[in-house]
Point group: D2
C-alpha cells in the first residue's frame, strides 16, 4: 500500500523495453541523434506548433532553467506559496538565476489568486531599482496539492502576465494527470491559454528519467542551449531520454497511465469519504488525495503497511485540523494497483 509519492514508483515496462531496444548501435550524442530529432518533431505535433524542446535530467532542472532563460537582474518570479520550486528545490531556481527571487503568492486550493498576484506584482514599480523587477509567473498544473487550474483560471493569470509583459511558466511535473482530468489537449492547456514555457514531466508518470523544458515560442529559449550545457544538463547519451519519450507518447500511453493514476485517486477519495473515518482536506482533482484523520488511525494504517507522508496544513488554512488530527497525502501513480487502493480503504474501517 505505497502512496508515498509518484516518484516511488519504478518505470513502466514499455519504457524499460524501449531503453533496452535502444541499447545497440551508435548515434550522435548531446541531443544530435536522429531519435532526438524525431522526438522533437513529435512534440511539435503534440503541441500543434513548432516548439523548442530541451531534455534535462530533473524537474528541478526544468523549472530552474525555465527561469534562467528569462532571467533579469534583480528579477522576481511569482509562484504559489506552496509551489515545488519555492518549497522543495533547495534554492535551485535562485541558484540558476544567480539570485533572482521567488515571491510567494497566496490563493486557495494551491492556486494563485489573480488579485493577490496583481497586488504582489504592483509591489515592484517599474524602474524602482531598490525593489527589483518582475520577471516571470509560474503556475503548477496539477498543483502541489493535487488540485487543478481550470482553463479560465489559467487564462486569467495569463492575462495578468501579458499586461505586465511577463512570461508565464507552467510546472508540469504532473502535466499528464492534469491533462486527462480536464480532458484538454496539450495545446489547449498551454499556449492557447497563454502559457509560454512548460516543464513537461514524464518521470512521475512512468519514465525513470525524462523531463523536457518546452518553449512555445522557440525564440524565448534561444539561449537555452548554452544555459543548459553550462548547467551540466546536456546529457551525452541523450537518445535514451528520447527513447523514453518515444515509448511514453506512443499510442497515448502517457494519457492512459495518467488516467489510471487519476482513477485510483478517485477511488481512494470515494472510499475515504464513505468510510466516515476520515475526511478530505479538499477535493482530489488529479492523482493526489489529501485526507484528514485521527492520529491514531493514521498510525494504525501505517502499521498495516500503508506508506504515505503527513503534510503541513496550507498557510491559508491554519485551522484545518483539530489537535488530534493529522493531514496525510496519498499519491497514486501508473503503478498503483486497484487492490492496494481497496486494501487501504478497507483498513480505514
Amino acid at each position: 500500500m505505497n502512496f508515498a509519492s509518484d516518484n516511488w514508483a519504478g518505470a513502466h515496462p514499455a519504457i524499460s523495453q524501449s531503453l533496452l531496444a535502444a541499447s545497440a548501435g551508435f548515434s550522435a550524442p548531446y541531443g544530435a541523434s536522429e531519435l532526438d530529432h524525431q522526438i522533437e518533431q513529435r512534440f511539435n505535433e503534440l503541441f500543434e506548433r513548432e516548439v523548442a524542446v530541451y531534455f534535462v535530467s530533473t524537474g528541478t532542472a526544468a523549472n530552474s532553467l525555465a527561469l534562467a532563460a528569462v532571467n533579469r537582474p534583480g528579477g522576481v518570479s511569482f509562484c504559489h506559496r506552496e509551489a515545488h520550486m519555492l518549497e522543495d528545490e533547495c534554492g535551485a531556481p535562485e541558484f540558476f538565476t544567480h539570485g533572482a527571487r521567488l515571491a510567494p503568492v497566496d490563493g486557495d486550493n494551491g492556486k494563485i489568486d489573480p488579485q493577490q498576484l496583481k497586488a504582489e506584482i504592483r509591489r515592484f514599480p517599474p524602474n524602482f531599482v531598490h525593489a527589483g523587477q518582475p520577471m516571470a509567473i509560474s503556475i503548477t498544473q496539477a498543483t502541489e496539492i493535487g488540485t487543478l487550474y481550470q482553463p479560465d483560471e489559467i487564462a486569467a493569470i495569463a492575462q495578468i502576465a501579458q499586461n505586465y509583459h511577463l512570461p508565464l511558466h507552467m510546472d508540469g511535473a504532473r502535466f499528464a494527470n492534469a491533462l486527462v482530468a480536464l480532458n484538454l489537449t496539450p495545446a489547449e492547456m498551454t499556449w492557447k491559454l497563454g502559457v509560454d514555457i512548460l516543464s513537461f514531466g514524464a518521470t512521475k508518470n512512468g519514465c525513470w528519467c525524462a523531463e523536457a523544458l518546452i518553449f512555445m515560442n522557440p525564440a524565448l529559449g534561444k539561449d537555452l542551449p548554452f544555459i543548459r550545457k553550462r548547467a551540466a544538463q546536456l546529457m551525452s547519451k541523450s537518445r535514451f531520454v528520447a527513447c523514453q519519450f518515444e515509448a511514453y507518447l506512443k499510442a497515448d500511453l502517457w494519457l492512459e497511465l495518467a488516467r489510471h493514476a487519476n482513477a485510483m485517486a478517485q477511488r481512494l477519495q470515494i472510499g475515504i469519504t464513505n468510510s466516515m473515518k476520515a475526511r478530505l482536506a479538499w477535493p482530489a482533482e488529479a492523482n493526489e488525495v489529501f485526507a484528514i484523520l485521527d492520529k491514531h488511525l493514521a498510525t494504525q494504517l501505517q502499521e498495516q503497511g500503508a506508506v504515505f507522508y503527513t503534510w503541513n496544513p496550507p498557510h491559508a488554512k491554519p485551522d484545518l485540523l483539530n489537535e488530534n488530527e493529522i493531514l496525510i497525502r496519498l499519491v497514486t501513480s501508473f503503478a498503483t494497483e486497484l487492490d492496494q487502493v481497496d486494501r487501504l480503504i478497507a483498513a480505514l474501517g
Copy 2:
C-alpha cells in the same frame, strides 16, 4: 566504423537488463532506496575505505560539483590546458563555483607538468587578494588525449597539492580504461596516491547515464547533499542509476568492457603504424588513438564509412602537422567490434 566517441555507443545489454529488472515495485526516491545504499556500500568495498558517493547525471556535473565542494572566493583551480573541464564544459565549472577560475597548466602528452604546476600556483601568493587564491588541482585519467598518468606522476602532483594544501581531483570520465591499462586497483590509482575527489564515469564505458562523484574523505564533501540538490542533480528515481552501477560493477563487467575498448585501441594503433599510411601523434595508452594522416586519405576513410573527429594539435606542439595533414581522433569503446577495427585498418591501405 564508428570511432567518433565512446559516448556515441549505446548501453551494454547487461546495463539495460538491469534497468528493466529494476522497473517494478516502489522504493524511496532521492537516493534513499535500499539499492542506493547497497551501491554506496559497494563503492566502499571497491575503494577499500569508507567513501562518500553522490550520483549525478553528467560528467560535467561531477567535475563542476567537485570544485563547488571545495570552492573559495576568488578561487583558482589548476588543470591541464586541454582538460575537458576547461575546453568542453561551456563554463560549467565556473558557473557552479560562482565564478572561480580554471587556470590552464601546460605539459606534454596531455599531462600536467609538475614544474609548470608549481610555477602557476606560485603566481598566487597567499593573502594577495588581487590575484585570487588557489583552491584545487584537477587531473584527468585517462587524459583527454588518451594518455595515462603513471602512478609516480600522480604522486608527484599529489605532493604539490599537499604542499599547497589543495585538494586533488581526478576527472575519471575514462577511469576504467586507465585502471585496466595500468593494472591498478581503484584505491591504488586514487587515494593511495593522494587523490581526494574522483569523478567516476561509467556512461562512456557501457552505462547510459551513470556518473558518481566520490569523496575519499567524506568530510570533504559534507556540503554536497545541499550543493547537489541546489544544482538540480538529485534525481528522484535515483535507484535507476544505482542499478546501472550494480550491473556495471558486478563480476567486474566494467573492467572487462574497458579491457575490450583498450584492446581495440591497441589493435587500431598497431594497424595504423603498420599501414605506413598514417602515423601516431603520440602513443595510445587507453581507448583513444590519435593519428596523423594525409587530408585526402582522411576524406577517403570517411567516404568508406569511417566516423571520427578531427582534432586541433596540442598547444605545445604547433608543428605536429604538415599542411597537407590532419590530426584525427579514433575512440574505441565497449561497443567497438573487432571487424570494424579491421575494416578501418584495411581501408587505410
Copy 3:
C-alpha cells in the same frame, strides 16, 4: 523642511574637513595605510575586543557581504518582513550569496517575533535537502520603521541563533541612533548580547561614504578579504574612508550627531501628537517618525515645502489607515535644523 531620508543630508563639516586634510601625501592603498590600521585599532577599542573591520562602499554591500561570509548552499537567512535587505536591496543579498534565500519573519513594530522566528527556522529540518538549510539571522537596529530592539529582545533572538548554530547579523545602518537612544555601549548592544556580525553604518549619520562590516570574532570573517575584493568593494584610496571614520568617532562626534537626530525626531513626535491633526503610527524610538494624517493635509504640507515619503502600512497592520488617510515617514538626521522641525509642526496646524 526636508524629512525625506537621512541619506538626503550631505556630510558633516568635520567629515569633509577630515577628507580635505587627508588629501595630501602618499599612502598605501587597498586598506594597507597607517590610517586604515589606526581606525581598525579604534574599532577594537570601541568594541572592547579585537574585531575584524572591513570598509565597504554601501550599506547594501555590508549586509550582502555579511551573508556571503557565512554562506551555505541552499542557505536561508531570516530577517524581518520589512527589513531593508529584503525590501530595498534589489536582490543584492541573494546575488552575493549566489542565490541563498531571505525568509521573511513577521513581528510587531518592525521587530522579529522570536516565536515566529523559531517557527520559520523549524520549517527547515536538518539534512532535509529539499527545503534548504538555515544559515543566518539578521536584525536591524534601529529598525526600518524607527523602532528599537530592547537588549532583552536582542538576547532572545541571539539565544535562538545559538540554539540553531546560526550567526546573528545586525544591520546597523542607523546604529548610532539606536545606541544613544538605548544608552548602551557598542559592545553592550552587540556581542555582549550575542551579535556576531555588524553592518556599521556612518553614511546616514554624517559621513558621505563610510560603511564598515565588523566581525566580532575575526575568524568568522576569515574569507572576507577575498570576498570583498571579488565583490569590487575594496576601494583603492581606502584611507579616505578611514579618515571619515576618524573624524566620525573622534570625541564622540557620531553620538552627538545621533543624539541631535533623535532629539529632532522626538520634538517632531511631540508636535504631531499635540497638533491633534495627525497621529503616530507607532512610537518613534530613534530618528524616524511615522505619522498618519489626512491625505489633503499631507498634500498641503508638501505644498508648503515639506519633503517626505509616504509609506505602505506594515503587512501585519492592514487596517492601520482609513481610506482618507495616508502614512508618512519623517526622517531626521544630523543635518535637521530645529526651526525646520518647528515649521513642519506649525504647518500641521
Copy 4:
C-alpha cells in the same frame, strides 16, 4: 620618492574642496540629485553624444559591471594576458557575470595582437555549446604596462569586434593619461573608433573615489540600473561622486593633471636612459615607466627612500632580464613632484 602607484596619491585639493563645498544641504540620493544629472549632461558634452553614465565605487566594479551588462551564458571575454581584469581583480569579472570566462590574448607591449585575437575568437565556433560563446572584447588604455593603443590599433580591434558582433570595452583606469598623450578628444579615442563601453577612471588621476561606467549607446546598458543596484554599487550619497567629477572636469583640470603625470614620467624616462645605470623595458607612453636595473642598485634606491614595485617580465618576454637584474615599475601621478623625480634620477647614479 613615491612611485609605487597612482593610487598611493591622495586627492587633488580642488577635488577635496569640491567635496567640502557640497557638504551642506539636502539632495535626492541614489543618483537622482540635480548635480548627478548635471554631471551626466557634462559627460554627454564631453563625448559629443548622448551617453549613459553610471557612477560606481571602484574600477573593478566598472570593469565587472561592463561585462555583466553584455553577459551571455557560457560567455567568454577576450582581454590582454596582462589586463588588470584578468590579473588583479580576484575574479570579480567572473563573479559579476556568474562565471563568464576571461580568455587571455597575447600581444606585444601590453596590447592585444589582432591576429591572436581572431585566432582566440575562432576557437569558439557559433553554436558549439561545449566551448562556450564569445561575448566581449576588452582593451586597456593606457595599458597595464604604460603603453598606448594608437587610434588605428583600436580601430583594428573594433573591426574584429564588429565582425563577430562583440561589444568592445575599454578599461580607462588611466583614460586621461592616454588621452593627453595621444592628443585626442574623448569621442575620438572611444566611440569614433568603435569603443562601446568605457570604464572612465578618475580616482588614479586626482579624485579619491570617482569611477564611471559609460555606455556610448545607452541601450546597451539598459539593464545597468538593476545590475548596479544588485551589485551594491549604487551609492546613496552619489552626489559626492558627482561633485568630484564636477571639479575634475571643470576647466580641463583632469587633462592638466594627466599632462603633469605624463610629463613626470617622460622626465623620469629620460633621466633613466641618460643615467646609463638602468634601461627602459619598453617606452613609457603615459604615466608608467618600467625600468630594468641591477638588483643591488634597486635595493640602494629603496634605501634612499624610493618606493616602487618590482614587476614580473611579460609572458611574451621571458628573456628580458639577466639574472642579476630586476624589472621595476615607476608610476607618476598628479601628485608627483618634480624634485622627487630629480632625486630619483640623481640617486640612480
